[in-house]
């Protein structure tokens, strides 16, 4: 396991994340891990007791986790959203836009490459779960 990349100022949550099923059964967990097949909307009634949601990417090509992340952010979740698993440098910028603010990749990422990835896009075309202003809004501001 590689180093945790975290873009938040609050304390790191150190409770182990439980599965969605376990989370729904047990009322005291505050960290949960979503697998690609889980429905992120199952968590919506319990957002206030969540401090950490891990979204697992068993293979980088399985993009369901991007939707899970956005759904949580759209519903107002503002705790830590951490992408774990097969998280590669070329996916970071999109993940960030979908609301992830922490990354725990299986493989250590090159620091310079990570920084380059986040600085890559001068603008964005569409709105997502981050607070960047889309080009089409800027054009008509």
């Amino acid at each position: 396991m590689a180093e945790l990349l975290r873009y938040r100022d609050d304390e790191t949550v150190d409770h182990p994340a439980v599965t969605v099923d376990a989370f729904l059964d047990q009322s005291n967990a505050s960290a949960v891990r979503i697998e690609p097949g889980d429905d992120a909307r199952d968590l919506l009634p319990h957002l206030e007791r969540l401090a950490l949601v891990e979204v697992n990417f068993p293979a980088f090509g399985d993009g369901r986790g991007y939707s899970s992340a956005r759904i949580l952010r759209e519903a107002g979740y503002d705790g830590e959203l951490r992408a774990v698993g097969d998280v590669l440098v070329d996916q970071l910028a999109y993940m960030r836009r979908c609301g992830f603010d922490a990354f725990e990749p299986d493989q250590q990422l090159d620091k310079d490459d990570v920084q380059a990835a986040f600085e890559r896009w001068p603008e964005v075309y569409q709105s997502a779960a981050d607070d960047r202003t889309p080009i089409w809004t800027k054009r008509h501001a």
């Binding site: 993009g63 991007y66 090159d110 603008e123 080009i135 054009r139």
Partner: protein, 544 residues
């Protein structure tokens, strides 16, 4: 035509640098081929039979002479002097080096072009009606909507790792010239009884190994919700499209398995939630984009007359020009299907000539057709003879639009690593055969489409006559299909029976045309006759 502003340019330039960096990391060994592949595919770079292949997007099929010149220069500088225009209004170069790929993308960006999302499991280049802005029958020009969707789908953070590729087509007329219902999403811009414009959404069409015709899931999405609705369609697909089996991963399978009604219900639910999220562009953006597609300054008194005294010219006019909304103008089709030629291929020289002719005679605009031909959309009738003379001298004057010689063919086994059989030689032999027997003209409209494997890049399911290459114990074999259509009378072709070898398939095509000639009634196209009399008479003639 749409013109980039500093934002569009900055995005395309950033993409070039991103790819340059990715290619460098690949060459340095920081990326494995497995990791690099989806990244290069999202920039249109394949590894094909002989080299890397680069697919360049021509958004909604529209380009100007400067861009066509740039495509020609790329063919000369980085490839072997030619390119292949495809059924999705793209161009492919077959002999590209990975080392050069980023430089090519940089050259493209200088003329506001790119290869972004021309492959990979993401939203692909958005295609449209090749007569957009010129067709006499359109409700509005569909391209502003396609451009809006281009921006929305470019670098979409949520939809770049979809279960499978995703193709969108936008049209705005009852006549479908873009195979709209054979796309993952087909959008038809319509006007309702109140006179307002809206978008009819057809979702879940496609070809490939399980061809399906998209059902209409919403017949009127207001234009100020277009992007939000598309976002909802994609989100349901991204979450629930199958990922366990690559061959069942297209949205058509999801829509089919859920049923159109249940899929629609889920989309509407998602749509309602997304309405609060501010994903829709400001309406002013649509208005801004529209200004780029205003009519050129057509001459009000352009002459309606054409001097038909040269019979070769008159034939070309009859076959290759199409009614225009402005009096005294037509859209002229440049056939890339010379008899015995390679469908869709054009040399750099031909590209330059077409570019110059567009400048002289068509308000500097060209279009790529899904039938792998080029259109000059706005030509004065008075200029047609000069245009035709120049085309004819360059071998681009074939008078065969929509005839049996106007064959769609994928690259097949000559270029494609997925192929089972060659497509191009079959197309060449068929056009030679019909040109020799002189039957091309009398057969009228006859759409023949050839794919070298089940992936159906050559639209064989949608051919009045379709041909599918298969591998029969290591030998090329060809199945014959009849009765497909990609147009507004969309239908899927059916296989006649056992396949044929390379020579047999040419004879078989001739045989079915003979049945048509025998059976046809007044004014019937091949397809109409087939639909009236059914498969049996054709089968009898083929197999006895």
């Amino acid at each position: 035509m749409y013109k980039y502003d500093q934002y569009d340019q900055a995005m395309v330039d950033a993409r070039v640098e991103e790819f340059r960096d990715q290619a460098r990391r690949r060459l340095e060994g920081k990326l494995t081929e497995d990791q690099f592949k989806p990244l290069r595919l999202m920039n249109g770079l394949y590894l094909q039979l002989h080299a890397y292949m680069l697919r360049v997007a021509i958004p909604y099929g529209t380009l100007d002479s400067r861009q066509m010149h740039a495509l020609a220069d790329i063919a000369d500088k980085y490839d072997r002097g030619y390119g292949h225009f495809t059924t999705r209004q793209n161009i492919q170069y077959n002999w590209i080096k990975l080392e050069d790929a980023a430089d090519i993308l940089a050259d493209l960006s200088k003329v506001e072009m790119h290869a972004i999302q021309t492959s990979g499991n993401c939203i692909r280049n958005i295609s449209s009606d090749h007569f957009a802005g010129a067709a006499a029958d359109e409700v509005v020009d569909p391209r502003p909507y396609a451009e809006l969707l281009r921006q929305w789908s470019s670098f979409h953070p949520e939809f770049s790792y979809l279960p499978r590729k995703f193709k969108i087509a936008v049209i705005a007329s009852d006549t479908d010239r873009a195979a709209m219902r054979l796309h993952d999403i087909g959008i038809n811009i319509v006007r309702n009884d109140a006179g307002e414009l809206g978008a009819a959404f057809y979702v879940g069409g496609g070809m490939g190994r399980t061809p399906m015709i998209a059902p209409c899931i919403n017949d009127f999405v207001p234009l100020d919700r277009l992007v939000t609705y598309a976002e909802a369609c994609l989100r349901v697909y991204n979450r629930y499209g199958r990922r366990d089996n690559k061959y069942k991963a297209r949205i058509k399978i999801l829509v089919h398995e859920l049923g159109a009604e249940e899929y629609t219900r889920q989309v509407e639910e998602e749509f309602t939630l997304l309405l609060d999220q501010g994903v829709e562009p400001p309406f002013a953006e649509l208005e801004r984009v529209r200004t780029f597609f205003e009519d050129p300054l057509f001459e009000a008194d352009a002459s309606p007359d054409i001097d038909r005294s040269d019979p070769d010219f008159a034939l070309w006019v009859d076959r290759n020009t199409v009614a225009h909304k402005a009096d005294g103008y037509v859209s002229a089709v440049i056939s890339l299907k010379p008899v015995g030629g390679i469908p869709g291929d054009a040399t750099a020289e031909q590209m330059r000539l077409m570019a110059d002719l567009a400048k002289d005679y068509s308000f500097d605009e060209l279009r790529v057709m899904h039938t792998q031909n080029i259109v000059l959309p706005h030509v004065r009738k008075a200029d047609l003879h000069a245009l035709w003379t120049a085309l004819d001298e360059a071998g681009l004057g074939a008078p065969n639009l929509d005839t049996v010689e106007d064959i769609i063919a994928c690259p097949g086994l000559d270029y494609c690593s997925l192929a089972n059989a060659r497509s191009i030689p079959v197309a060449q032999r068929i056009s030679e055969r019909f040109a020799k027997t002189g039957k091309t003209e009398t057969l009228g409209q006859l759409k023949l489409k050839i794919s070298g494997c089940i992936n159906a890049c050559g639209h064989h399911h949608a051919g009045h006559i379709g041909i599918l290459g298969v591998d029969r114990k290591g030998v090329e074999n060809y199945q014959l299909l009849l009765g497909g259509s990609e147009a507004e009378d969309v239908s899927l072709a059916k296989i006649t029976g056992p396949g044929f070898d390379e020579h047999g398939i040419v004879d078989a095509v001739e045989t079915v045309t003979t049945v048509y000639e025998r059976e046809r009634e007044d004014g019937e196209r091949f397809l109409d006759t087939y639909r009236r009399i059914g498969m049996n008479p054709f089968k009898e003639a083929l197999y006895g």
